[in-house]
């Protein structure tokens, strides 16, 4: 049993504390630029579509168009705040700064490192996701108590996309390849997620495709939190997001392990 008692746990608090502390320190230094880039873009979409297209379309399914886009932009904000740091930060720290090499020489496993980094990004994404919602209040969105779930939905979606980005960062050979991911994967994902137009009105093939878009499930779940949950549909959206997060986590950890331990 001595060998058993000496066994350390697979996930230990100290590694999370160390890595989150570091992120917090960096965040306090860079919060202005991070926040601006993660928040301004979705809000620009909100204004452009909400107010621009809003002159053509007054309402969608009984919701004013500005509120429709505003609540949908939560998912866009979450995507930008999670997939991009997942790709870029992870790549830079692994390849250019070799920070991960230093951390892994300490008693930290790749699993702990990836999970700590991903969960931090997701937490940030959860917070940033609320900004478009707050902006939409100024266009007449009625507060509702279930909106407190929005940051948690953002966190869950953010986990999936943060780990997706981290997985991508471990697959690509050079950082330039991220442009393919951005234009081929991420842009279609956020355009066909029901943010700017309802997925239900699309041709059937696209409707089916949307089911495989985690962002669509995020958008619908957020609208549920803002205008009233629909059971069991929203439970289904939640389940998809959970599966997406777990799947991406497994992929990211596995690929990073290959890259970081030779």
């Amino acid at each position: 049993m001595t060998a058993q008692t000496r066994q350390v746990r697979r996930y230990e608090w100290a590694t999370f504390e160390g890595i989150w502390n570091r992120e917090w320190t960096l965040f306090r230094r860079y919060w202005a630029s991070t926040t601006v880039s993660s928040v301004v873009q979705p809000i620009i979409y909100l204004l452009a579509f909400g107010l621009g297209v809003g002159t053509l379309v007054s309402s969608v399914g009984g919701i004013s168009y500005v509120e429709f886009v505003g609540t949908g932009s939560v998912a866009t904000a979450v995507l930008f705040a999670s997939a991009f740091p997942g790709m870029f930060n992870t790549y830079v720290r692994r390849v250019f700064q070799r920070t991960y090499d230093a951390i892994l020489a300490a008693p930290v496993s790749v699993d702990e490192l990836a999970t700590a980094e991903g969960s931090w990004i997701a937490a940030k994404a959860g917070v940033y996701g609320t900004f478009p919602l707050i902006a939409t209040f100024f266009f007449g969105l009625e507060p509702r108590w279930t909106m407190v779930f929005v940051p948690f939905i953002g966190f869950l979606t953010g986990l999936g996309f943060a780990f997706f980005g981290m997985w991508v960062s471990a697959v690509i050979k050079t950082i330039d390849e991220t442009t393919y991911i951005t234009s081929v994967v991420l842009t279609p994902l956020f355009l066909v997620a029901g943010t700017f137009f309802p997925v239900q009105n699309l041709r059937p093939a696209l409707q089916v495709a949307a089911q495989f878009n985690p962002l669509y499930h995020c958008v619908d779940l957020v609208r549920g939190a803002c205008f009233g949950f629909v059971w069991p549909n929203d439970l289904y959206h939640l389940a998809v997001l959970v599966v997406f997060a777990i799947g991406m986590w497994l992929l990211a950890v596995r690929k990073l392990r290959v890259r970081l331990v030779d």
Binding site: A14, R29, T99, D101, A102, A105, P107
Partner: protein
């Protein structure tokens, strides 16, 4: 070195550190080791103190002891005045000292130093030598790789000469010298033809030589017949060094 911390998997065999199997208990092993890598991987976005603080947490220094551990590490790195400086603002020597101090934050039983003085000024190197010697005095085991043979000669209790991934000789610097190159070496200077002549004569007498830039060094010259020494003429005597051992064992020409 990376194999000892479980960051590279052995293609065969098994690695054990401090009685712990690195394949299955690498976290436990890493908790008791301090690592100073060859390539600087300090967190350039953090300050000196923040770098140390982060690793104090990762190395499980208990909360109550963290402050003292960081202060002690700042002393080791001699960076108390620069604690709030960003790593980018430090000189090469300062960075190396910080890198070492970071590896010592948790007072490890074993410290791995991968070429710790490569590319540093002689003065900075001296500083690091006394730092490493201090660790040794305190009873910390230091495993160091180096290309500066002088460094191994001055600091090491045990030296392993590695060539093409194989240990070709092992022992204290003194024993290695005695066994392989004796106590005295004599250096002869001259034009290439003369050096070649000396080399041939020594070989005929069964003595080893090594080229030392513009000179040829007769090894084990203390046991050379006086007739030979006389024939070879004026040479400069010096004490045999570990570098002589290294060159003798690993060959004069690098492949």
């Amino acid at each position: 070195m990376r194999m000892l911390t479980g960051q590279t998997r052995p293609s065969s065999g098994r690695v054990e550190v401090l009685g712990l199997d690195v394949a299955t208990e690498s976290k436990q092993a890493r908790a008791r080791m301090g690592v100073v890598p060859q390539l600087d991987n300090l967190d350039t976005e953090l300050t000196v103190e923040q770098n140390l603080a982060m690793f104090a947490v990762l190395y499980r220094v208990p909360r109550r002891e963290r402050h003292d551990a960081i202060e002690r590490a700042l002393d080791i790195a001699m960076l108390r005045q620069r604690r709030d400086a960003k790593v980018d603002e430090l000189s090469g020597g300062m960075k190396r000292r910080l890198l070492i101090a970071r590896g010592l934050i948790h007072s490890p039983e074993l410290v791995l130093l991968d070429e710790p003085t490569v590319g540093l000024d002689p003065q900075v190197r001296q500083e690091l030598w006394s730092l490493i010697d201090g660790l040794r005095q305190q009873g910390t085991t230091v495993l160091m790789s180096t290309h500066y043979i002088e460094e191994a000669e001055r600091l090491a209790d045990d030296v392993a000469v590695v060539s093409h991934g194989q240990i070709v000789a092992k022992g204290t610097p003194g024993d290695l010298r005695t066994t392989h190159v004796g106590t005295r070496a004599t250096e002869y200077y001259g034009p290439p033809t003369r050096l070649k002549e000396i080399e041939d004569r020594a070989r005929q007498a069964g003595l080893a030589t090594r080229r030392t830039g513009p000179a040829i060094t007769l090894l084990r010259s203390e046991s050379a017949p006086s007739a030979l020494l006389e024939e070879l003429g004026d040479g400069v005597h010096r004490a045999a060094s570990l570098e002589d051992v290294f060159v003798l064992l690993t060959g004069e020409v690098l492949e």
